[in-house]
Assembly symmetry: C2
C-alpha cells in the first residue's frame, strides 16, 4: 500500500477516472450496512464531503471490520467506481483496509446533534465535525482573502508588537506580562512592586491594538496592514467577546476619510466574494444547517453599495423613529454611542443596507482621530452590518502635531509614553487613515455562527484557557 500515493478527498470527488486504483486516508464518520456489504463514510478534513467506501464483508477480516467505528482512522485502497447511491458521483470499492488508529468508545463526537455548548468543552475534538470543519476552512479562506487583497493593492504586512509597555488607546483593560516570581515579588522602598528586575525592566502588557505602531509603518512604507492577535482583559461573558482575538488594521499614508471608506467597502466585499467563490460546499452546508439566510445575506452585502451618512444624520433618523413610536431599550441622544439595537435598526429596518456612519462626537472616540472644523466631531467611521452591527471602526488620523498634543493633554494621556508616536507628526507629517476589523466578527458574519467562541479554534474567555 505504501507505493500508491494517497489522494485527498477534495481531489477525489472531482475525479472521474473510474476503474483506477486509489488510496484514501481519513476518519470514519459513519458506518452502516448489511450482513454482506458495509458502507463507510470517510472524511479527511480536506472538504466537508465524505467519500463512501464499499466493503464486501466476506473479503475482510471480521475482527478488523469490528474496529471500523465512528472516529477510527483508516487507510483504504480500492477501485474508484461510479456511485450507485444518491448524493455522490463516485465511491470506492475497497480492496484493502488498514486501521491506522482505532477509536475508543468514549469518543466525544460520537453522537449526532450535540449542542455547540457541549462541543465547546471538547474543542480539541469538535474540529472533526462537519460544522466546525466548515467554519475553520472558511476561517482559513478569509485569512487568505485578506492577505491577497492587501498584497494585490500594494500594502505591506507589518508585524506590530504583541508585548507593549504603552497602553495604545486606552481601549480597555490589559493583561500584564511578567517573568517575576509572584510568590516573591521585590518591592520598592515605597512598598510598591519593583519592576527594575522584571524582564523588560518595567511594567509590560499585551497589546490592545497595533494601530499606533501601524502608523509608524504607514508613514514610512506608504500602506501597511497588521493581522495579529489582540487582547482585552474585560470580564465580559457574552457571545460577542473574546479575551484573545485576531485583528486586521490597515493604515495608509495620504488617504483621507473618503479614501478610507472606499477601501473598507472594497476590501470587505472582496473578502465576502472570496468566500462565495471559494467556500461553496462549506457555505451551503452552513446555510442548510446553521442559518438559512446566510447565503442571501452574503450576496446582499456584495451586491449593494454601502450607504454613507453622518452620525448626526443617523441620530435624526433614530429620533424620528422614536417620535413615530419605535421603542428602544437605550435612549438616543446626540453625544452618546449608538448601541447595537440602534445600529441594527438603521441597517436592517430603516435603510436595509450596510451603512458607513461618519463624523462622530469627539468625546466618544479616540484621541488620535482628526478633528473636524466644527470643534465637536472627528473624522471617524464605523461600518455597520446586518446581524453584526459594527464590523469595522476607523478614522482619518489627526496629522497636526499641535492639535494632537492639545487633545492628549485634554484627556490627560501620559505624554511620556507617546514621544515616538508624536515624532510622526514632527518629521514629515502627512494625512493618513486606517481602520480595524475584528477577524472573528468577520467570521461570524460569513459563517452565520452565533457565538464568537465557535469561530476561533480555542477561545480564551474569563475563567477559560483550555487546550
Amino acid at each position: 500500500m505504501q507505493s500508491l500515493k494517497r489522494t485527498k478527498i477534495v481531489d477525489l470527488i472531482h475525479c472521474t477516472e473510474f476503474g483506477s486504483t486509489v488510496n484514501v486516508k481519513g476518519w470514519v464518520r459513519t458506518r452502516r450496512g448489511s450482513k454482506n456489504v458495509n458502507f463507510i463514510a470517510l472524511n479527511d478534513g480536506s472538504t466537508i464531503k465524505n467519500v463512501q467506501i464499499v466493503a464486501d464483508v466476506e473479503q475482510f477480516d471480521a475482527e478488523m471490520l469490528k474496529q471500523i467505528t465512528t472516529g477510527a482512522c483508516l487507510s483504504v485502497v480500492g477501485t474508484l467506481v461510479e456511485s450507485q447511491g444518491a448524493g455522490q458521483a463516485s465511491e470506492i470499492q475497497a480492496t484493502a483496509i488498514e486501521v491506522l488508529g482505532t477509536c475508543d468508545a468514549d469518543f466525544p463526537m460520537q453522537k449526532k446533534g450535540q449542542t455547540f455548548e457541549y462541543m465547546r468543552t471538547h474543542a480539541h475534538m469538535r474540529l472533526r465535525t462537519n460544522t466546525f470543519g466548515a467554519v475553520f476552512r472558511i476561517r482559513h479562506n478569509m485569512a487568505m482573502a485578506i492577505h491577497r487583497y492587501f498584497h494585490e493593492h500594494g500594502f505591506f504586512y507589518f508585524h506590530t508588537p504583541i508585548i507593549t509597555a504603552s497602553d495604545a488607546e486606552g481601549a480597555g483593560q490589559m493583561f500584564q506580562v511578567t517573568t517575576q516570581d509572584l510568590n516573591n515579588l521585590p518591592k520598592t522602598e515605597e512598598g510598591q512592586v519593583d519592576y527594575a528586575n522584571d524582564f523588560f525592566g518595567k511594567q509590560a502588557s499585551l497589546t490592545v491594538s497595533g494601530q499606533l505602531e501601524g502608523e509608524l509603518g504607514a508613514t514610512a512604507l506608504g500602506a501597511i496592514y497588521t493581522f495579529g492577535p489582540t487582547f482585552r482583559a474585560e470580564n465580559s461573558n457574552t457571545p460577542r467577546h473574546l479575551a484573545e482575538f485576531w485583528m486586521i488594521e490597515p493604515e495608509v499614508a495620504f488617504n483621507d476619510i473618503t479614501d478610507n471608506m472606499d477601501l473598507a467597502e472594497d476590501f470587505i466585499k472582496y473578502c465576502i466574494r472570496w468566500a462565495l467563490e471559494n467556500c461553496k460546499d462549506d457555505l451551503e452546508f452552513l446555510n442548510n444547517m446553521v442559518d438559512k439566510t446566510l447565503l442571501e445575506r452574503l450576496h446582499f452585502v456584495v451586491n449593494n453599495n454601502f450607504l454613507r451618512l453622518t452620525y448626526t444624520e443617523g441620530i435624526e433618523v433614530l429620533q424620528k423613529a422614536i417620535a413615530e413610536g419605535r421603542k428602544f431599550e437605550f435612549p438616543v441622544t446626540w453625544g452618546t454611542d449608538l448601541s447595537s439595537e440602534h445600529e441594527r435598526f438603521l441597517v436592517e429596518e430603516h435603510f436595509k443596507c450596510p451603512i458607513i456612519l461618519t463624523d462622530y462626537p469627539k468625546e466618544i472616540k479616540a484621541f488620535y482621530m482628526k478633528q473636524n472644523e466644527d470643534g465637536k466631531t472627528v473624522r471617524a467611521m464605523d461600518v455597520l452590518f446586518p446581524q453584526i452591527g459594527e464590523i469595522i471602526g476607523g478614522s482619518e488620523r489627526e496629522e497636526s502635531y499641535d492639535k494632537l498634543v492639545a487633545r492628549i493633554e485634554e484627556l490627560h494621556i501620559p505624554m511620556k509614553d507617546m514621544w515616538w508616536y508624536l515624532d510622526t507628526r514632527k518629521f514629515g507629517t502627512c494625512p493618513h487613515s486606517g481602520f480595524g476589523l475584528g477577524f472573528e466578527r468577520l467570521i461570524l458574519f460569513v459563517t452565520g455562527m452565533q457565538n464568537i467562541r465557535d469561530v476561533i479554534p480555542f477561545p480564551r474567555t474569563p475563567r477559560s484557557a483550555e487546550f
Copy 2:
C-alpha cells in the same frame, strides 16, 4: 491638485508616458541643486527607488523651497519626462509643490551611514531608510510566499492560542499573564499566590509553540499551518534571540519523516525563489550594501538538493575532521546537541550544501517525537543552512498512545495538562509530522542582515520593549 490621482513611485518608475501630468507624494530623501534648479529625491516606501523631482527655483516660493529638507513630506504635481541623468529612466519636472509636513532639524535619520545599533534606538524612524525599507518589504513578501505556498498545497491556516495554561514542550522559560493587582495579590492559606480570581482562574502564560494544538488541527483538517507570535522569556542578549518572534508550524496527517523532509525542502525553496522573483530591487540593494554574497547564497540554496544524513553520520564526519586536525570550541560526542560551529562546518566546509540531519538521540529532543526501533533515537529532523545553522526543526510524531504515555512518564511531564493532546492518540490516531520555522531566522537568511533585532519592526529583548 486634489482631482489628480496620486501615482505610487513603484508604478511611476515603470511608466513611459512622457509628457503626462502626474502627482506623487512621499518623503524627501535628499535635496541638492544650484541657484537655478533643485533636484529632490522623493521616496514613498512603495519601492527602494526614489523619483527625482526637478524644480526650477524661480518658479517656486523661496520660503516653501526652504522647507524641503530631508524627511519632509511633499505632494508634487509635474510632468513626467525622460531623465537626463544616469540611474533612472524618468523624472518629474515639477509644476506645483505642496509641503504636507515639514521636518524638524532633529530628524534622527538625517545623516547617512548611521550604524544599525543607532538606528535600533530609533526603530520608529529607521523604517524610513533604504535598508529597513528593503528589509520590511522583503519580510512582507516572505509572509506572502508562506501563505501562498500552504494555500496552494491544501493546508489550512490555523490559529493556535497565544495565551495558554499548559507548557507545550518545556521549550524554555515562559512569560506569565495575569490581571491581578501585583501590589495586592491574594494568597491561599498556605501563603502562595491564589489564582482563583485571576482572569483565567489559574496560572496562564504566553505560548512557546503552537505545535500541540496544531496536531489537533492536522488530525481533523488533514494539513494545517500556524503563523503567529511565540514567546521565550530567556535572558539571552544575542544577535540570534528575541523574546517575541513569529513562527510557522505546518503539521500534516499521514506524513512520515520522509514526506516531512520533502515538504520542508520544497517549502523553503519556494519562499527563497519568491524573494528572488519578487524582491529584485531590494535584494540587489542589500547585496550591494549589506552582504555581497547574499544573492549567490540564495541562488545556491534554490539550485541544490538538500543532503540528507543521520545525526550519527554527522557525528562521524565531525569526529573524522577532528582526528584530521580540525579544531572546534565545543567537543563532539554522540548524544549531545551539535553547536552552531559544528552545523556550519558540515554545511559550509564539508558538504557545501544545505543538510537535513535526522534520527537524533531521544534525550536531546522533545517527548512527542516518534521513537525509532533502536530505542535510542527519534525521528527528528533539523534543516541546516549556511550562515544560519538550524533554520527548521521538526519530526514525525509518536502516534502510539502507549509509547507516548511511557515517554511522558519517563520525563515526569505533568500528565494532567496533557489529556487533550493524548486524546488524539486515543481517538483514531494516525502517523503525522510537522516542523517549525522561525520567521526571523528566514528573514535573516534572505536579507543578509546579521542581527535578528533588525529584521522585526519593534524587537522585544531583555530590558527593551520600546515603541
